[in-house]
Amino acid sequence: MIIAEHKPMKELLAMIEGFNNILMVGCKGCVTVCNAGGSKEVAILSAALRIARRRQDKPVTIDEFTLDRQCEPEFISWLDEQVKKKKYDAIMSLACSIGPQYIAEAFETVVVLPGLNTGFMGGTIEHGIWGEFCAGCGDCVIQDFGGLCPITRCAKGLLNGPCSGSVDGKCEVNKDMDCIWELIYERMKNLGQVDRLAEMIGAKDWSTSLSGGPRKIIREDLTL
C-alpha cells in the first residue's frame, strides 16, 4: 500500500492561511489502513485546525467528506454537487498525492492543498511502523536476490553489494538500518544459493523506472 503521514500542524496552518471555507477530503484506501487519511483522521485533523484557527481569532469552516478512493476520477466526481453548492475556497486532500492531483483536475478554479506527505510503497512492520520495500522500478529482479529488493532496501541501490560501509550487518547511513545485503546473504545461504552471489549483475536499464518520466500501464484487453 501507499504509506503517508500528516504534514506538521504548523505547515498545515500556513497552507490554509487566508482561507475561511475549506473542504477536507479523506480516502478509504491505503491511507485509511495506515491511519493517515481515513474518515477518523479527517475528523481529528479538521477539529485540530478549527481549534487552532479559533485561537488565532480567525475561525475557519472545514467540512468533512471521505471518498471510497481518490485514485479514481469517478469517485472524485462524488464531490461535484457539494463543491458547487458550498463554494469552497480550498480543498484539502488527505489522500496520497494522487488524490489532490485528481481533485485539481476536476475543479479548475478551486485551490487544492495536500494534507499529507506521501511516503512510499510499503508494508506494516509492526503496529504504527511501516517500511519501504519497493521502488517501483518497473522491472522486478528480486528473484536474483533471494526474493529481497536491494534497489529499494540498500541505501545505494547496489546490485552487486554489499559496500565497504557495511561492516557489522548494519547500513553506513544509519546503524538502525539492516544491511539488506547481509539479509540477502542469509537468504541465499538458506536456499543453498550462495554461489549465485558471485554472478555479476549488469548495469540496470532504468528506462522502465521514473527516469523516463511518468509512466503508464496500458492493458489493451481492458481499454474501452
Binding site: 546490485l159 560501509g165 561492516v167
Partner: protein
C-alpha cells in the same frame, strides 16, 4: 590498450608498491597540492586523488590529477558512482584519458547522507562492479556501455577497493572476486590497523586464489592525533580503528602524537611488507600529507624503482 603506467609496471614486476593519497582542496587554491606534489617526487610510485571523499565537496579528482601529472607525478584517479550517472562517468573517463590520466580507481562512494550536503539527491546509476566492467569494456573493446565505437585507443589501469574489516568475510570476498572478474587489476584496502582481522581476510583472499590474479595494496594510515583518530572512527564509513590504537596515541603528550602516529604507520608498513600476499602499501596521512615522504623514507621504501 592495456595501460603501461608506473604503478602497473611496478606491480607486474612483483616489486612492493608504494602509493599515497591526497584529498583535493575545498576551494580553488592548489598551492598545497603543488607543494605536496614536489615532495612526493621520487618517493612514491603513484598518488591517489580522492573523489569527493566522505561525500564532501572538493575540487574534482581529474583536475587535481592533471596538476599532479604536470608536476611529474603519476596520479590514480578515483571515480565514484555516487554522483554521476553512466553518461557523466564515461564522459569524464574519456576526458581523463585525453589529459593523460591512466590509473583509474573505481568505487561506489560513501552515501551522501554521511557527507557535507546530506540533502543531495543520490545517483548510484551504476555500482562499483558495473563501473569496473564498463571501464574495461571501453578499454578492451573500444566501445561505450551502449556498444557504440569510440575514437582513439585509451589505456587504463583499473583499480578497486576492498574493506577487510567486516563481519561477513565470505560475502565481502565474493564481492572482491566479482570486482576482479569484472576487470580490476589492483585492489586497495581500507587502512590496516587491526592486523589479525586483516590477516583473516587476506588468508581467505589467498585461499580463493585472488591474490594470484590481482595484487593487493594494503592501506595504512598515519594518525595525526588521538582526537583525529576518534573523529575518523565516527566520520568515515568502514574505517575500523581499534581502541588500542587510540590508547597508544593518547599515552603520549599531544605535541608528540603526530610523531607517534607516524611511528605506528611505519611499523605497520614493515609488518605488511613481510606479509605474504601483500603487493604494496597505500599510505594515507589525513591532515598531514606533507609527512608522507618522511613515512616512506622511515619505512625503508626508498629509493623507488625506476621502471620507465
Amino acid at each position: 590498450m592495456k595501460a603501461e603506467t608506473n604503478l602497473q609496471k611496478i606491480l607486474a614486476r612483483g616489486t612492493f608498491a608504494v602509493t599515497c593519497e591526497i584529498n583535493p582542496p575545498r576551494g580553488t587554491k592548489v598551492d598545497a597540492v603543488r607543494e605536496n606534489a614536489a615532495g612526493f617526487k621520487g618517493k612514491v610510485d603513484a598518488v591517489n586523488v580522492s573523489d569527493n571523499a566522505t561525500a564532501s565537496v572538493r575540487m574534482s579528482s581529474w583536475a587535481v590529477s592533471k596538476i599532479l601529472l604536470d608536476a611529474g607525478i603519476e596520479p590514480v584517479l578515483h571515480m565514484v558512482t555516487r554522483d554521476r550517472n553512466r553518461i557523466a562517468l564515461q564522459s569524464d573517463l574519456l576526458g581523463a584519458s585525453a589529459l593523460g590520466i591512466q590509473n583509474v580507481l573505481c568505487l561506489t562512494g560513501d552515501h551522501p547522507a554521511r557527507g557535507d550536503h546530506p540533502e543531495a539527491k543520490k545517483v548510484f546509476d551504476l555500482d562499483a562492479v558495473q563501473w569496473i566492467a564498463a571501464v574495461k569494456q571501453i578499454r578492451d573493446q573500444g566501445t561505450l556501455m551502449n556498444g557504440e565505437k569510440i575514437s582513439g585507443d585509451p589505456g587504463f589501469f583499473i583499480g578497486a577497493v576492498a574493506n577487510p574489516f567486516v563481519r561477513s568475510l565470505e560475502l565481502h570476498i565474493l564481492r572482491l572476486q566479482k570486482k576482479i572478474v569484472a576487470g580490476a587489476e589492483f585492489i586497495q584496502t581500507q587502512p590496516v590497523l587491526d592486523m589479525e582481522h586483516f590477516k583473516a581476510w587476506l588468508n581467505q583472499a589467498i585461499a580463493e586464489g585472488l591474490t594470484d590474479r590481482c595484487p593487493i595494496i594494503a592501506g595504512v594510515i598515519a594518525l595525526k592525533s588521538a582526537a583525529i583518530a576518534e573523529d575518523l572512527r565516527h566520520s568515515v564509513p568502514g574505517m575500523m580503528i581499534p581502541d588500542s590504537v587510540i590508547e597508544r596515541l593518547s599515552a603520549v603528550p599531544e605535541d608528540q602524537q603526530l610523531d607517534e602516529g607516524i611511528k605506528m604507520c611505519v611499523e605497520k608498513i614493515q609488518t605488511l611488507r613481510e606479509t605474504g600476499g601483500v603487493g604494496g602499501v597505500h599510505i594515507r596521512a589525513p591532515g598531514c600529507e606533507e609527512k608522507l615522504p618522511e613515512i616512506v623514507e622511515k619505512a625503508g621504501l626508498l629509493p623507488r624503482p625506476d621502471v620507465s
